[in-house]
Symmetry: none
Subunit: 359 residues, 4 copies
């Protein structure tokens, strides 16, 4: 037999073994699935490291080569992991915020019955960092309204790093925001910081806003799952996308399906921008979840001089909208002075965005 | 004139200008203090952003270089801020958690009047990740007590990434923890997740515990500032040391001076450990704050096989104690299975630490 | 005098003092600039901490309040910093890669005299991760050429994490790349890993490529500054934008102005993408530098399923082009199997990009 | 049948399948070994991606679940990889720098035959950031020698962010370093930046030093694998431990077993220290590799005021030594002015370390 022939012959043997392995792996997976069901009945954890250790020891004892024990253990660990992943993917199928089909999408309709987020439109959410006075809100809202913006930031409770910084106007700020929103037929979104505020805020707010610091405040998230107003959920400053989706799951699984995700930049070593806008993360979220995703181009940048390219980027990314801070006079703003746009800058941004189609 | 001489000459000019600047800054501060008094008489806010904006504009117009307008505005903003701080009460102008002298330290005394944190001793805080049963707590506490540990983890509310993971036993868990602690004359520390839990938990808990996810939950922090039990505050997973100290300031400035800081690892790109223990940060905190600092060697590592070196490191760092998770049977633990120590491992760790002096 | 009047009066005093401060600060800055020149003559470091310490001590001794010594020292440290920054901005003005005016741009012309990068066009750089065979390169280049792509990846030296991974075909790979490029009238860009390779590679390569691992290899950068072919410089995986620009400065200051910057994602904690595309960094680079900037949508993502949104994002960001890996059969590629596009996917991406204008 | 019983039963089924899988995998490996022999006879490459692609396609077609095609392909790719590794020489299949048993250690002996690294001692590597003059080196070396330090930093080539910063004295610096080292019977370690420097530096240097920026410069690493002097390899500023070990493997697999790993802090968002010392990483390296590990307490901190606690931490971590920068007058140093210790501080550090046992 020539080398070429014997190669052919050996490769056929491999092909046969491959099929036998496939069959065994599948059989094994079926049994593991059964075990998963029993463990659920028993209320036990599915991942059992001591059982794994025992199986690996048995394999090691039985192994006569040519693979080393290390290799055998590595291969079986992969098999164990695949089995566990199989169970998890079944578990994950129960995660409500995950997209199950390419065209699944959550569409959120605001009280006018016309304004929608997640329906393929590109919504602008805007307003100053914080409510500072009636005049400031009125001037901003007039400018936004002139460009068709429907969702107005009416932030009255500001989470701040230092207890000595401006903490927002409180309920008085909400009253101002509501009054101004009513004047221009706009909707108010405002940050909630503690579940004890829900009842009071229900009177003023159209969309609840959960800040980055509260992304994993499960008591707040569950409480917002019980109301029937939409919730904007910001990604925590070092949250993974998986954690972000699970945070949304706390709200959705508590009964409120209307959650909007906001990517606002993550904390990295790079300091030329306030945070690092994770635009790839936006693309991944749009793949993996059916929830609307909005890009915050103000907190991610922390500087207004790149608002224009980031606005275009947000629209091009496939996101459902963008959030940008606008203030009549950013230089005297009580917070975020460097990142809020002047009104003329906002108008330029809107002109620019009009040139680009929604993907 | 040689270069060396002209350098001397120019530096003398600088010295003169410095003194003139000092005089002017002091004169300015005196006028601002007067203005403050008038504003108080008038019942007006002392901080007036539009007045600041107007002064900055005037300076900008007058500026002929060589400093850019940006630099001039930045310098004057510093001067404005200094003046404002001067007006505010001396106490408020200072950050309370900051060490003012090398020997300033906050010493926290537990209810037995004997156990102290921050007094130069090295305290061990230990127990399982979560209360799972009376037997589990009893077995753990017995082992810890045998080694002189006084502070027992009695975690009954577990903040979890997914809403479908084990969330803790709730108040039943607190009852178990209290019962076991009483049996062994130990103290309970337990995590609080929402300010609504304070009253209930006061009955069970000796030291409140604020988790990493709640480090910037200012409503919770302020509420804990109103009670008279110590609070352990964990560093957020991507919090800077400055943010960490400000978070403690929320508690302390609300009236509760007894705060213990825990470094528990920060989130980085490196995944061979669950988080990256910032031991340099511990050294910096000990320099900058008078609060006790404790090192969490479990969550920072996420694996028990390096508990021994990390325990030694914690003690060598100058920290006031360490936190380590111990479980009678980690393999079946409902959370953190990979990082909790077996009881014999815990004993080895204690033996090892005994060999090293407190710095 | 009423309170209102005396407020007016005091504020006028402040206005006068502000102007005097401005004058003094400017005078001081002029003297500091003189000192800087002398220090340069003397060959001394400009930043002199002991001189600063001595000035602060003098001020402390002279200070009679009302500002505390701490405040005075803080204010003067700001003034020192501003003066140093002034000198540095003059130093920085000597950084060649920095944009000095809004319309300054480096335009790189390839050997056909027609293909340009940085002229306002949007160039596509593409090809497989590595040269594997003539057939593979030919099939890829044919597809790229059909879409008007002019710059072909012809990677023959692959920097790999492990010494046991495929390290590229070496010079044989360069020969294949050159042959294929000639067939389709395309240009070859290929990675150089050591300065000893320059002479050999000059025969094959139109654009030298410096990988992320070599971004700060100053010996290589300086050597590339001596040749007259363009250089593509990738951002290091944890390089700041400032470091990135300084790396380009090593090449430009050595004599070669034709440098193209590539943003390829930075390393962060987030693992759903291989790296985190720093699209805000692209916007900042376009503001701060006149060099062309290209976005690598393959290494930043590490997955081909988000190539479409990232391609749109790259174009919308204002970058001068994008880099995308394409392979006839990514499943069998010897590296980067998960991120290289299939040829039909590449065609879809080109179709999509055609719908969006260059900003 | 109770749940408990059926669990038992299902697990027995798994045990049987595991053994069948083991048998098949072993049979497969034997056939692959045969194929390898034939391919060698035929002079063909053993790694054949198209054959792999064809097997994967066949498996995909045959797969009827429950594993997804993706999972099946992933598992078989692991099996292919294991088989390939098996074919390769036993030595090559193993990563040389990995510890195979708990007591395996690389001990490096310096030319005096007495000074050792990795033998259980705790070595101090010290000296100024850069050679600046004979006097500076002499004064430093005298102080170090008085405390028994044997390894002197003699850095003559400084990799700098900016091309306009001090780049080191070059060969003149090496001459000074050598002269001073000879005077005090010390050993010189000095940074190499390009493989072209090896021959020249061999005359001056006892231990080659590869900086963080060159950790993945494979041309340099391989070249250092051909010499018979030890190499200190610094971790890249965002390198994973796995990448770090592979970088060492480039040297070791090229023939030079004498590599010392240095942890020098990783780049994170936290800026109160220059880098974040990954002390947990040191513990992991000591577990996973037999190479000596040294802790750089200067570059990790970037500030000298925490050198004392970090020195204790380094010793407590189980590392084989520490590296600390010392300068007769750090205030005037040409680089790293804030982190180099004054000589009296160095002496205090040595006194402190003497109090602590080596673990």
């Amino acid at each position: 037999m020539t080398s070429q022939d014997s190669l052919q012959d050996l490769r056929s043997q491999i092909d046969v073994i491959n099929m036998q392995l496939l069959e065994l792996l599948s059989a094994r997976a079926r049994v593991v699935t059964e075990i998963g069901k029993v463990l659920t009945e028993l209320g036990s954890e599915h991942y059992d490291p001591s059982r794994e250790a025992q199986m690996l020891t048995a394999l090691e004892l039985a192994n006569k080569g040519p693979f080393s024990n290390e290799t055998i253990k590595a291969l079986f660990r992969e098999i164990f992991r695949a089995s566990l992943a199989l169970e998890e993917s079944q578990a994950k199928a129960k995660i409500r915020v995950q997209r199950k089909s390419a065209d699944e999408r959550t569409i959120i309709t605001l009280p006018d019955g016309v304004t929608k987020i997640g329906d393929g439109s590109f919504q602008i959410i805007s307003g100053p960092c914080a409510v500072e006075s009636y005049e400031q809100m009125d001037e901003t809202a007039a400018a936004l309204n002139a460009r068709g913006v429907k969702i107005l930031r009416g932030m009255a409770y500001k989470p701040r790093t230092s207890p000595y910084e401006f903490q927002g106007m409180g309920e008085e700020g909400l009253q101002i925001a509501r009054q101004v929103a009513n004047k221009y037929n706009m909707f108010i979104t405002s940050e909630i910081m503690d579940k004890s505020q829900i009842d009071m805020m229900l009177d003023y707010v159209d969309i609840f806003w959960v800040g980055a610091r509260n992304m994993q405040n499960s008591f707040l998230l569950r409480a917002l799952g019980k109301i029937n107003k939409p919730v904007i959920l910001k990604r925590g400053l070092a949250a993974t996308l998986e954690e972000f989706m699970y945070a949304a799951e706390y709200i959705v699984s508590s009964g409120n399906p209307n959650v909007i995700l906001i990517e606002r930049g993550i904390r990295t070593y790079e300091k030329s921008t306030r945070n690092t806008l994770d635009i790839g993360g936006v693309a991944v979220l749009k793949l993996e979840s059916h929830l609307p995703v909005v890009v915050d181009i103000s907190h991610s940048a922390g500087r207004r001089d790149i608002a224009m390219p980031l606005g275009r980027v947000a629209k091009a990314s496939g996101a459902d909208g963008l959030m940008v801070e606008v203030h009549p006079n950013p230089a005297v703003a009580m917070s975020d002075a460097k990142q809020q746009l002047y009104i003329p800058q906002f108008n330029e941004l809107m002109d620019e965005l009009d040139k680009y189609p929604i993907p």
